[in-house]
Structure formats: C-alpha cells, structure tokens
C-alpha cells in the first residue's frame, strides 16, 4: 500500500471516530435544547425528532411567571459568590501562614488538613445538621455557605500553599524590612503575586454550589430559600415529569457555564497540564 492511500485511510478512521464521539457527546445536548423549546410537558410527549413539534417559548415564560426560578437563581448566585470570596480569603490567609511561618503544631495541622480533604463532607451530614441547628444557621443561606467554605478550605489551603512556596521569600521579606505588617504583606504583596492560583480557586469554588444537591437539601427548607439544583430537581420527581420546564431551566444555567469553559479552554489546558508537571 502506498503512503498516500495509507494517510487517506487513517484520515477516514479518525473522522469516523470523531463523528461517532460527537454524536455520543451531542445526543443529550440536542434533546435538552429541543425539549426546552417544544410544546408539551413530559418526556413521554417529546417528539423523537428534535424540534419536530415546532418551537415555543412557553416554558421560559412559565419559569419566570409561575415558578420561583428567579429566586432560585438569585439564591444560588448569592451562595456561589459568598462561597467563592470567603474560600479565597480564608484559604490564602491560611496558606500564607503555613508557607511563611514556622510554629508549634504546624506539621500536624498540615497533615490533618490533607487527611480531612479526602473525605466527602456530607458523610457527617447528621452532625452538620445538628451544629447548624445549634448556631441558628439552619434554613439560612449563610449556614450553607459556612458548610461549603469549610469543605473547600482543607484542599485549597494546600493548593495555594504549594504555589506560595514557589514565590521567592525575598519578596515579602523586603516588605517586612520596609516596615509593613504581616497582614499588609499578605494583602499587598502575596495576594497580587498569587493571582493566577487565586483566580483558579475563585472560579472552582464559584462553580461548585451550582451543581450541589445534598447540602441545600439538608440545610434549606423554606420555599423562598431553594437553590437551582433543588428547584430543577423538583420538576422531575417520581410524582410528576415536567421535562420541558426542566430543560428550559437547565439550559439557562448551562449556557453561561459553556460559554465560560469554551472561552477559557486554552487556560484550562495549560493549568491542568501545569498541575500535573509540578507534582
């Protein structure tokens, strides 16, 4: 076989592979989009040909007029923002202390952080529930934020600490010699220098609460304090199936995420690659 024919066959195999993978990837995506705009209610009534029954904006109207969708969105946004900001502040301050100071129990604390981070925090659900009841954080957004931040801190303190270790100490020592306090050094020197890792951290902890289901279910009870995950889930329970409304609501959440990921895909590749090389 000559090389040219071989290259062609290779190209065909690659194309077939990519096409099949694309169909697999796109299959649910196409149906969600079509369901969001299709008349009808349940999955059973959905036409198997995407957009086969015409296009309607009824479900989006329904979301904003007859359900608490805007409130769910607002609550989730508040939780995500608060979690993101608190995680960045607390983890970076802790990481700064671990990276730059030597003190009693330092090593034990760091090892404890590492062991604690492997355990999914919802295994202690019952206790978290009782503790929140005790401090009045039950059925409040801030109670949920506390739980998220506590879950984020162990791993991310390590992450930021490893990054800070690579920053030359001379930088902050110079600031100390110039008379800056430790706190000021952290705020004015360390935070700006660590911006890449802190940006990554802010984004990662911002996206977490959008997808979480267990903790909102545990902590939030009132109808006006639900989050998107809870609300969307309530559309498709055992009792009712409003797949089209669910699809419309999901689409509105997923689109910002998709835009974001596609925009930053280059950055994602390099940061994921870098994290592997560093180990």
């Amino acid at each position: 076989m000559n090389p040219k024919a071989r290259t062609k066959i290779n190209a065909v195999i690659v194309l077939v592979f990519l096409t099949i993978t694309s169909i697999f990837v796109l299959y649910p995506v196409v149906y969600v989009i079509s369901a969001a705009f299709s008349p009808g209610n349940s999955i059973a009534s959905l036409n198997i040909i995407p957009f086969g029954d015409g296009v309607t904006l009824e479900h989006f109207r329904h979301l904003f007029t007859s359900t608490n969708y805007p409130i769910w969105f607002k609550n989730t946004l508040i939780i995500a923002l608060a979690t993101s900001i608190s995680t960045v502040l607390i983890a970076s301050l802790g990481a700064y202390v671990f990276s730059r100071f030597r003190f009693t129990l330092r090593k034990s604390l760091m090892t404890a952080l590492l062991i604690l981070q492997i355990f999914p925090s919802f295994v202690g659900m019952a206790a978290i529930y009782v503790i929140l009841l005790r401090i009045g954080g039950h059925d409040t957004l801030w109670g949920l934020v506390l739980v998220y931040v506590a879950g984020n801190v162990p791993y991310n303190t390590w992450l930021v600490k490893s990054y800070l270790d690579t920053i030359p100490r001379s930088l902050d020592e110079a600031a100390i010699i110039d008379g800056a306090s430790h706190f000021k050094t952290w705020l004015m020197i360390i935070m700006p220098v660590a911006r890449p890792i802190l940006t990554f951290l802010a984004i990662a902890s911002f996206t977490g609460p959008w997808m979480d289901f267990i903790f909102p279910k545990l902590v939030l009870r009132s109808a006006h304090k639900q989050t998107l995950a809870l609300g969307l889930f309530s559309f498709i329970t055992d009792k009712k199936n409003e797949f089209t409304n669910f699809a419309a609501g999901s689409l509105l959440v997923a689109i910002p995420f998709i835009i974001f990921f596609v925009t930053f895909q280059k950055y994602l590749i390099t940061s994921l690659g870098a994290s592997t090389v560093k180990e």
């Binding site: 959905l46 492997i118 919802f122 295994v123 959440v253 895909q265 940061s271």
Partner: protein, 439 residues
C-alpha cells in the same frame, strides 16, 4: 566585685528558665507576667485558663451526658426530654475545645521558655503584638470552620456507628439513644444475612465501579486527546470545543437528562430505536441490574472523558518537541511513538490524578444518584433500601434520608474512610514537597 558574683550568667539564665517553665506550667501566662514582663500576652493566656476553669462544672456535666447519652424520661413532654444527639454533639465539641485548650497550654509554655532564652525582653505594644500573632489569627478561621464542619462531624459520624441511633425505636427527642458497642458492625458484617448480603454486593460494586469509571474515562480521554493531537486536521480545534461540552454542563443536569432519555418506556432513545425498527421491545437501560451498571459506566464516560482529554492534551503539550523529533529521526512510527514515548510520559505525570480520580469515583454521588437513583430494585431493596447500582455513598445517603438508620450509615462511612485515608496518605508521600521533608 567580680569575684563575689556567685552565680555565673549561664546558671542564672538556667534558673530563670526553670522558674519560667514551672510558673508557666502552674498557670497559663504566669511566666510571661512574672518574669518576661510580657503582660499583654500573659494576660491573654491567663484569660483562657480563667474561662476554662469557670466553665469546668458545665464541662463535667456535658462529659457526663456524653457517657450516658441521656436517660429515657417518657413522663416528660417531648420538648423537655433529654436529646441524645445534642448531648453527643455537645460532648464532642467540648472534647475538641479541651484539646484546643491543651494545645494553647503547650504553645504558652513553649513560647515562655523560648522567650526566656532571648536576652532582649523589651515589652511590645498592642500593634506589634497583633502583628506577631498573625499566624494564630490567620489560621483561626480555617481551623474554626474545619473543626466545626469537617472534623467534629467526622468524629460524630464515627461515634454514631457505635450507637443505636435509628428509626423507628431510637430517634430523639421522642426516645433516647444508647451506646451499643460493636453491635452494628456485627449485624452488617455477618450477623444478619440480608444486611451482610447487601453490604457485600454494594461494596463489590463500589470497587468495580470506581475502577471501571476511572479506567474508561482515563483511556477514553487519552484516546481522544491523541487522536485530536496527531490528526493534525484543521477541524480538530472544533471537535475539541465540542468535546468540552460534557465537562462544562453541570453534572446534576446532564445526569437527570440522561435518566429521562434512557427511561425504558418513555425515553427518547428507546422510542427512536423502536421507530427505526432496530428493537421490537424496549431495552431496560436503567431497569435491569446488569444493564443499568453498564449504562452507568457509559454515561460516566460521557461526563468524565473531557477532563482527562484536557489533562492529556496539557501534559502532551509539556512534552518537549525535541523528544518527538529524536524519535522520528530514529525511525519510530506513530504507533511506536505512542506506546514508547507519549503513554509512559503522560502516565507518569498523571498518576497522582488517576488516584485522585479513583477516590473521587468511590464517592461519586451524582453520577449514580441522578442517573439511576441507585435503582433498579433488587431482592433486598425493601429492607436495606439499596438498589442494583447503589454505591456506598448513595446507600449512606438513602439510609440517612429515607430510612433514618443513622447507625448503619455511620458504619459504612467509617468503612469508606478506612479504605480511602491510606490511599490519600500514599498520594501525599509521592509528592515532591513531602519527599524533600519540606511539607
């Protein structure tokens, strides 16, 4: 005069050091106030001990309650009955506070001794004091949060495994809960045929699931990455963006969508296949235990391969171009290049992340719960609530939320911890900072 000095400087320093040590051990901060003239620091430490002593009676009561978990008092109205779980949590919190107190004690004594060594003992102002305390202040929020929302819940969970906290007979505040020793472990590990059978089934599937889910995503991701990279087609960039989609869509959403599309009777997939004449009767994608397991792994592949694709692309970019060129000059073909160069390098670099992904999959609640809900129903489901695709973590959730069998859920949680903690330690030992002793 010189000859009359009986105490040599070295001895004097030693005796001061001893005084500081003894006084610091006697009462927190005493050494700071008496000998080191660090009144602020000394008073701060002393205040901690005063508060501790003031609360001592209360602490004794709480610890007593921790041991008994409350006596049943059915004659009282429900609201006034002793609440065993509050007693348990309060007891653990108090124990944690005692440990913190001991930690402070150690820190105070050490700091007093360390500072008695230094010759210069000029008193410092409030500003400088706060500045020097930054390590403590900086760690306080992290430690506080982790203590109350991670550590104490874990200890609580571990404790519940040794109680009979469960529905229907032992749910506070109606009834009290008692310590039962290893009773729950016995039931689950060999005392009760149905429970033990369910546990073995779920544990084996959890392991199989974690291995399969990690392996399929890893090799699926790598395969796509290599194809995209090596095809050198213009269109590859387009496909890469397309393949990021599953990674970008929140998994709750995508899993719930798949659940509906794969529904045996109403799902679009079966209806499509039926209309096309491929199948005569519906395929129970999520309704048959075996097939549901296969489906779960496949759908997890859908959701998980983009992550490893990005990862492989990233670490392939990091492979120096020289390596490729050298291999090409030596006459290596594409296949050889993959097996001998790309695979070993990528494998080596991503090994820690494979382990992390494995532990993630052991705990991958969303991939199971939102797709199959743990179903379909199997023989022991009515009693144990565990279905054909339930992994330990979804079973724990069901035991807690649906059945309120907290005692069994906690036993399972302890099990997961015992399996995963060593893996995390191994992963830690691999990291460079640990090996270099820097931590």
């Amino acid at each position: 005069m010189g000859a009359s000095i009986s105490i040599k400087p070295q001895q004097r320093r030693d005796s001061t050091k001893n005084k500081v040590l003894i006084s610091s051990i006697l009462f927190m901060g005493l050494g700071h106030v008496l000998y080191l003239k660090q009144y602020l620091k000394g008073l701060f430490f002393a205040a901690i001990e005063v508060v501790f002593i003031a609360y001592l009676p209360k602490i004794t009561v709480v610890l007593g309650n921790l041991i008994t978990l409350g006596e049943p008092q059915p004659h009282l109205p429900i609201r006034q009955r002793p609440h065993s779980m509050f007693m348990l949590i309060d007891g653990i919190i108090v124990l944690a506070l005692i440990f913190i107190f001991i930690g402070f004690y150690i820190i105070s004594v050490r700091s007093a001794v360390a500072e008695s060594d230094q010759s210069r003992r000029s008193p410092i102002g409030l500003r400088e004091g706060i500045n020097r305390a930054l390590p403590m202040i900086g760690l306080a929020p992290s430690i506080g949060l982790i203590l109350f929302f991670v550590f104490i819940p874990l200890v609580f969970s571990a404790c519940v495994a040794f109680t009979n906290y469960s529905s229907p007979g032992h749910i506070p505040p109606n009834n009290t809960v008692d310590w039962v020793g290893l009773e729950n472990f016995k039931t689950l590990f060999g005392g009760h045929t149905t429970w033990t059978g369910a546990l073995v089934r779920v544990a084996l599937w959890t392991l199989t699931w974690a291995v399969l889910a990690t392996a399929t995503c890893y090799f699926g991701g790598m395969l796509t990455a290599v194809v995209l990279k090596e095809s050198r087609m213009r269109i590859a960039g387009f496909f890469r963006i397309l393949f990021i989609l599953p990674y970008a869509i929140p998994s709750v959403i995508s899993m719930l969508v798949w659940q509906n599309l794969l529904n045996g009777t109403f799902g679009t997939l079966n209806r499509t296949l039926f209309t096309l004449g491929v199948i005569a009767k519906p395929i129970p994608w999520l309704g048959d235990p075996r097939l549901a397991k296969f489906t779960a792994v496949m759908i997890n592949l859908w959701a998980g391969f983009p992550y490893f694709m990005l990862l492989t692309l990233g670490s392939m970019t990091a492979i120096s171009q020289d390596v490729y060129e050298a291999a090409e000059i030596d006459g290596a073909g594409k296949i050889q290049l993959f097996w001998k160069i790309i695979l070993p390098i990528v494998l080596y670099q991503t090994a820690p992340l494979i382990i992390m992904s494995f532990t993630h999959n052991v705990n991958n609640f969303g991939a199971i719960f939102f797709l199959t809900g743990g179903g379909p129903v199997v023989k022991d489901s009515t009693l144990t609530s565990s279905g054909g695709t339930d992994i330990l973590i979804t079973w724990i959730y069901k035991l807690t939320v649906n059945l309120m069998k907290y005692h069994y859920a906690s036993v399972l949680a302890v099990m997961v911890f015992l399996v995963l903690a060593p893996i995390a330690m191994i992963n830690l030992r691999r990291t460079r900072s640990f090996r270099e002793g820097e931590l």
